[in-house]
Symmetry: C2
Subunit: 441 residues, 2 copies
């Protein structure tokens, strides 16, 4: 296809895909954004849903809401299963139909990443990971149920494994989860149980590396570790978990009995590389050209966690900032190409800095040569995250919630909801006879 | 059992159970409140979760949070399956154990109601009802997915049944749902689709009775109907649905093709009457004595939707106000009995009035001889509901959300989340060998 109006298909409505769509808002291209969720997820705050601070609705905003004023953009709910780069089309499983063909002139793959269990996929059953809202709600249910179960259990000898929480992986997610859980037990849950003492809960953070937040400077790593320990988190470094089952984990030959293990390590790329049959780095991410295109395909861009690109000899990290800047770059580049303008300079990431929060009123922050830990860094963290929350209504409600939680220790969303399985108009419930491939356009 | 400290077991943490627990807060009784959810649900606003205005966390508050300062009260998460009134104990299925025995000196059954499909339980599959947060989230998913599906469907002839929503039952829930859905399509979704026009969606409200909101005066019923029609809702009275399947409903011989049918009629009592082998009214509710006790059991109270009691010749309605006043009465009566004080006068319901909202800025209100419809009634509705929201933090966030939605038409929580099935520490996932009856106390 290729007529007057070129079509740009964006796969993924995360930070990268959304930035690309916005950069294309004022072009004469037709933009189709496809995502398997109806919402953009503000992933940096996902751990706050898992730890009951925020509601799912506070960090998820409908993609079509964000892009509603962009009249050239159509949003489709569906899962891309394949790319045919010769025919220039993607195949989409939509709600009730499979194999819908969507053609493109330009393609932007911003499909993100999922967990990696480092070859131990059998761990997943016992140690769920945290990538989307359903994961966060499932972990929230699990953590809160462990306390309920312990309260219902009158034999204190049985409380140990119920009140032991193991987090595997001490990157930002693991550290932020562990410290938020420490706050949860010491503040929100403290006075609410009669038979157990929630503050006796054991929170263990395990990592095979030698420090927490390994992407930060050694000094900040040490400050974060110190803070975690002050909060009562047991930090175990230098050994990964050797085994996980329903009753706990094995770490360096020691068994830690636990009914709740959470996986906060390991990132696996989305299957974009397979779709393109492209060369990847060791982690499985597509090695892209300096202009973010896939080698040999100047019409296909790969951005965010799905892409591998080195800058100044170091691979770019899988963070929101990189994805957003790459999305903006790809969108702008397509815009210029459509308009016949010269090619821009190669993509270059401008690193504004990195932050991680470690419990109430404490964060670590690194920006250029500046390293900061403590309350000031936490204020900066809160300001930046509020600023970036996509929808202004969310910003107000998150702010209100944070102030409330900060002052009272109370959490906003401590629900256990036993959700129904998906209902009959879900893709998986449709009978095969109802599904038929349909060509769009 | 019967020692120095009498034990009061309350089954159900709804409006009735919670009011009873609070009335017992300063007695020397030991109070155990058992609910199968960890949260008290502010049910009058449940339709706002189903229509994406509010997040589940905004209308659900953890019961143990509400009662945390009440040191004589223990909250247990579990489902009561049976009452043995001879042995004076209830049987509870807790998270991982079945048949836990909890003894009582006084028992308050406040177990509420669920849907009734009037003998057509096969309708449930196609027409889900709205009783708890999981229901509301499932309906929200379903409604939002219907629009997504229509947008993905390029053949406009296939949009009809996807964009037709049928609500069965024109009581408060049906009327409030229908008008909130009309607001949703005409305001929130309006500008967000490219291939469909959400305002073309058809919302049909069906009831076998001759008017909507039949418990209100005829004048207010007529005002509500008129308002619904102004909002674009088709109101079909005088005929129930004869049949429901995956493709729509049959009403008075006419087929209405619809992929989304919601059940807002019919209330079935909880099994409390069966537990007690007590006499019931036609609806299956336990006929209670004027002091709300079960006949022959001065130590067992039945309150709220589970109880049947006439006042001035008319049965009390199944509304939150009745449940709260009854809960308070039962708690106070037990308090007095424990203290050896004389019995209070029989329970008498003080009717503060009834309200139902019909879309943005319009409600009907009836209190004594006062009948009011329109904006003023809506202001009163909003004030009363904010006032009653259990937790003050919720009150702020709901208020912020309402103002936002009122001004912009935007909704706070328009997420489609494909929730995981319950995880392994759920009661249903535990293997039978792990479950063993355990006596408490």
């Amino acid at each position: 296809m290729s007529d007057a109006t070129p079509r740009v298909v964006i796969v993924g409505g995360g930070f990268g895909g959304l930035a690309a769509a916005k950069a294309l808002g004022k072009t004469n291209a037709q933009v189709i954004l496809i995502d398997r969720q109806n919402h953009h997820l503000f992933q940096p705050l996902l751990y706050q849903v898992a730890t009951s601070v925020l509601s799912p609705g506070q960090i998820g905003s409908p993609i079509r809401g964000i892009l509603r004023k962009q009249r050239n953009t159509t949003v489709l709910l569906g899962e891309v299963t394949r790319v045919d780069s010769d025919r220039r089309c993607v195949f989409v499983n939509s709600l009730d139909r499979e194999g819908v063909v969507v053609e493109y002139d330009y393609l932007i793959l911003a499909t993100g990443a999922s967990h990696s269990y480092f070859g131990h996929d059998e761990f997943e059953r016992f140690a769920p990971g945290l990538k989307n809202l359903a994961d966060a709600v499932a972990i929230r249910n699990r953590v809160l149920k462990a306390f309920e179960q312990a309260e219902a259990e009158e034999d204190p000898r049985r409380h140990g494994d119920l009140l032991t929480f193991v987090l595997v992986g001490a990157g930002p997610t693991g550290v932020e989860m562990a410290s938020a859980m420490a706050d949860l037990v010491s503040r929100a849950l403290r006075a609410e149980f009669r038979r157990i003492d929630p503050t006796s809960a054991r929170i263990v953070l395990v990592d095979m590396g030698n420090r927490v937040l390994a992407t930060f400077s050694e000094k900040l790593s040490a400050a974060a570790k110190h803070r975690l320990e002050e909060l009562g988190v047991e930090v175990r470094l230098g050994h990964g978990v050797d085994h996980i089952d329903a009753d706990g984990v094995m770490v360096a030959g020691e068994r830690i009995a636990s009914k709740t293990v959470i996986w906060t390590a390991g990132v696996a790329p989305s299957p974009a590389a397979k779709w393109l049959k492209a060369a990847t780095d060791r982690a499985g991410r597509v090695r892209v050209e300096p202009d973010l295109t896939a080698p040999g395909h100047p019409e296909i861009f790969v951005i965010g966690d799905t892409a591998s690109l080195a800058q100044d000899g170091r691979p770019l990290p899988g963070v929101a900032q990189v994805a957003m800047q790459q999305g903006r770059y790809a969108g702008t580049l397509i815009h210029r190409r459509i308009g016949g303008q010269p090619k821009p300079r190669p993509f270059r990431y401008f690193d504004k800095g990195n932050m991680a929060v470690v419990g109430k009123g404490f964060a670590v922050l690194e920006s250029g040569r500046l390293g900061l830990s403590g309350f000031l860094a936490w204020m900066a963290w809160a300001a930046v995250h509020l600023e970036f929350l996509a929808q202004s209504s969310l910003r107000v409600s998150v702010f209100v919630q944070w102030v409330w939680t900060y002052l009272t220790g109370q959490r906003g969303s401590r629900l256990i909801v036993n959700h129904h399985a998906s209902v009959s108009n879900d893709v998986r419930a449709a009978s095969p006879s109802e599904r038929q491939p349909i060509e769009t356009r």
